[in-house]
Assembly symmetry: C2
Homo-oligomer: 282 residues x 2
């Protein structure tokens, strides 16, 4: 198991407090206390974390989403949470205890190749992708927090993670994020700013929904679907291990695209690389 997404239903505490996204960093703290000290140290040192987690409040209960992006993270984080001895989360300094109910391993992929195949073997990939930003999403660019979505930043963020953790399938192409952004656009959204609490600061971010339309030849459509689909595991933007950037992805309309520009897109899949090369005719 190399990629996994676990959902744990949490009940409110004795006082009726229900966990919400604002508690993301407290849940992260609890998680770090549970993993082995060596692994915690390793995670602390790594700039890009091989896992993401966020809390989603849903009526009178909450869903805690935890994703692992490599084999070790699956072993160190997901597997222990599935064990019977884990039955509640205690946020000590807040004196809150949340009981874990149903545990659902929603997705698990043996490899990145298996995840990629899911999109590349699809005969008519979605040309409209709807994303729900469940917890606040933010990007750092030009030294500033970006509170509006940008497809370029979104793709770059996901490509970086993919290449960091996908050991046998990597995306090698100059300016790939820019190319993908040129062939897709945000067609609709309903978004609002949210400020994510982190120790003593609040990080500017946004949450809500948006639709992405893809005007590209099929293999590129598959690639965009794959990257956006991956965000449901990796999270999107900054601080995804602390509870930010929790997203859900819905692929929608299918059907062929016919643009003015004819496009030939070749995918060289080898054991080592999923290389993508473009060439455009007139």
């Amino acid at each position: 198991m190399q990629i996994a997404h676990l959902e744990i239903t949490l009940a409110g505490d004795e006082k009726g407090n229900i966990p919400s996204y604002q508690m993301g960093s407290l849940f992260h703290g609890w998680l770090m206390e549970r993993v082995s000290p060596d692994y915690a140290r390793l995670l602390h040192q790594s700039e890009m974390k091989p896992f993401s987690q966020y809390v989603e409040k849903k009526g009178q209960e909450a869903i805690w989403h935890i994703s692992a992006l490599d084999r070790t993270a699956c072993q160190e984080i997901i597997v222990p949470l599935l064990e019977e001895d884990f039955s509640c989360i205690e946020i000590r300094h807040k004196k809150e205890v949340f009981k874990a109910g149903e545990k659902k391993l929603v997705y698990s992929f043996a490899s990145y190749k298996e995840l990629a195949d899911r999109y590349y073997l699809e005969s008519t990939p979605s040309r409209v992708v709807k994303m729900e930003m469940v917890t606040p999403v933010s990007f750092r660019s030009g030294g500033e927090y970006q509170i509006f979505p940008s497809l370029h930043l979104i793709y770059q963020n996901l490509i970086n993670r993919w290449n960091q953790f996908a050991d046998k399938v990597s995306l090698e192409e100059k300016n790939l994020a820019a190319t993908l952004a040129e062939h897709s656009f945000i067609s609709g959204y309903r978004l609002e700013t949210r400020y994510f609490p982190l120790e003593k600061i609040f990080i500017p971010a946004f949450a809500g929904r948006m639709s992405i339309k893809i005007a590209a030849p099929s293999p590129m459509v598959a690639l965009i679907n794959m990257l956006l689909g991956y965000s449901a595991f990796s999270g999107l933007g900054i601080k995804t291990s602390l509870g930010m950037g929790g997203v859900r992805v819905i692929e929608e309309k299918r059907g062929e695209w016919s643009g003015k520009r004819q496009a030939i897109l070749k995918i060289h899949s080898s054991r080592k690389f999923l290389m993508i090369k473009y060439s455009y005719g007139d």
Copy 2:
């Protein structure tokens, strides 16, 4: 009277249909039939219209907002609507008749100087401005419709209008829009896409609310407040004579700004120009 904003309450028609922003271009058509043929021809030829109008649905009635930006428009558009013989709006091809109720001349300024004074004589201008985009706002930039707000585009749009219609007070400064955008930022928003119907097409746009924070010396704060305040008359973005870009402006927090950069901002107000010059120390 050089600038005026008129609000007319409209009742629903016999079938209970209430006018909404989607009817903007139909209301424009009705208005153009009422003005003198010479003036209609003049308006048709002018790229930047000296008026704006939009329809705001409010519960079981609607408010029709009409603003005039120069003396002729006040005379040709606002004054006739205030006359008693105007009592209903007939959208012929839809066979709808909307009765006019209360007519309120919400604002009227004798001159642009008078409007400018309102902001420049304010001792502590607002450092937070909240805007409500009541009807869909869109910009054209780089050959594309912009469905996210950009302060640079907003300021440029308003400066262009101001300089077009303010005969004795103009804003002359290179890169003024960029400078203003550097000294302010969108701190919060709740926006969604809306598609504005125009004959046979739908123009991508956005509506909702946003807050703008201004980090600048007082005179620049006054200028930004003035420009944004002007948008309540001129409308914002494209197609403001057809019902798009209807905005409301709320000035909020007051108080001094203390930035790292010391700034000296001089305003030379003469009969002809309200010139703005910047010089920054370290």
